[in-house]
Structure formats: C-alpha cells, structure tokens
Symmetry: C2
Subunit: 117 residues, 2 copies
DNA sequence: CATATAAATAACTATATGGTTTTGTAACTG
DNA sequence: CAGTTACAAAACCATATAGTTATTTATATG
C-alpha cells in the first residue's frame, strides 16, 4: 500500500462517527475488548467487528489476545500521517482563525459545545 | 449539519486521491476552472464535476462565475476542523515525528506557556 | 441568429459500505 | 465432556460511491 492509498484508508476510516468514537474511547481508556467497545452503541456486535476491521486495515488499531478476548489497541501512526497531510495546508486555515491561540480557543469551544466526538 | 456530520463529510471528501489532488492544485494555483482541473486526470469532465460536488458539500471548495467558467475556490475552514480533531490525539502521534515544523513547535510553546498538559 | 465553450444534469453500471441475522469457532469453566 | 463467553464469518439487503456516455443549460462570439 503506497502513501496515497494509506491516506485514502485513514481518511475513509475517520469519516464515520462510530469509528471516531471507538478511537476516542481507546485514547481515553487504553485497550478495550470488542464487547466493551460495542456496549455504548445501538448496534450489533458484528457491526462493531466490521468497523474494527476497517480501522485495522487503515492501521489505526491492532488486536491482541487475552483468553477469549481480542483487546483493541490504538495505533497512532496513521493519525500522524493524516496530520502531516493537513499541516501542509496550515497557511490556509491559520488565516481563518487569525492566530494559533485563536485556533485553540475555537477548538475548545467546539468541543465544549459538541461534547467531543 | 452538526459538528459530527461535518467531520464525516470532510474526512470522506479527503479519502479520495483525486479530490486531494484537486485541493493541492487549488492551494498551489489559486482559483481554477473545472476544465483546467480535469485536464491532468484520466477521467471525464462529469466525473470531476461529481468530485467537486463532494468537496462543495463538505465546504472544502466554493464556486464563482467568470463567463462560462465556474472557478473553484479552496475553502480551508473544514481543514481547520479536521486538524482540530486530530490535534486531540497529538500526544499519541507526536513521537512519530522527529523534528516537527513550526506549527507543532509553536503549539508546544503555547501549551508550555499556558501550563497545560 | 448560429455556433462554440464550459459545466451541470441525467441515466445507467459496477462495486463498496453499513447494517442485519444466523452460524461457526476458539478459549475458558463447571 | 457440556456449556458459556467472546468474537469472527457468512449471507443478505439497502443505499452510497465512482465512474461512464449522452444530453441540457448558460454564456459568449462570429
């Protein structure tokens, strides 16, 4: 898989709110089993397993083994690559916020208002 | 469209190499007509128009009017929001970059100065 | 007015995506 | 060994996506 295809897979994986929520959960709680991940969602276990397969193909998670459980682990490398792509555009989006600290302020407002996705 | 849906649309728009190339072209050359955008691709004009519709729905481009031409303009706001989402994971991906460029340096300085994290 | 250019729209096709329910399997437990 | 838990795999369905060719619309020009 070349760089472009990896970015395809990463952005595609990030384009679903369930998958972003899974990543957020892993960032908060560390490794989590599939059942524990599925619990908050109004969705069947196989649906979550499918989302995990998408995340795994993008390299955003890896799987371990603990008895019957397959703990899911966050892998940040693709997030770094996606960020790297976006950083090339910073001169365009920086202007939207004026200065960097304005960006941070804006982010905090967005998160406070949205309750973090 | 709420924050989550906007992120969906943004990441989904960014998940295609043709659309990323279009954004890169607009960042380099400024506003560009549809025909000029289509030229480098082995793809029909309607296919490019469809990609532009995806980008426009995500708010990543806007359209002007110049005689028959509909110049395409880069809109960076959604890139800022996507970057904002990724920045929440920086502690995971920071290690991946050796020497970071000025954005991240500045981010770290700001945070250090503010006594955060 | 007739024609050319730029782009959008329509109609169609093939494949991908996101969900379901059902079934299968690997590992523990009594 | 029988049952349970945790998960994956299969089969199916509806909708979305990415492309095509053909047609239409808007604007400009001879």
């Amino acid at each position: 898989m070349d760089d472009s295809a990896r970015l395809d897979a990463t952005f595609q994986a990030l384009s679903d709110p369930t998958r972003r929520a899974i990543l957020a959960r892993l960032a908060r709680d560390g490794d989590v089993s599939v059942m524990e991940l599925a619990e908050p969602f109004a969705m069947s276990q196989p649906a979550i397993s499918k989302h995990l397969k998408v995340l795994e193909k993008a390299g955003l998670v890896s799987r371990g083994r603990d008895a019957q459980k397959r703990p899911v682990h966050l892998e940040a490398q693709p997030l770094a690559e996606a960020t790297g792509w976006l950083i090339d555009y910073r001169k365009y989006w920086q202007a939207q916020f004026g200065r960097l600290d304005d960006l941070l302020d804006e982010l905090q407002k967005l998160e406070a208002a949205a309750g973090k996705n």
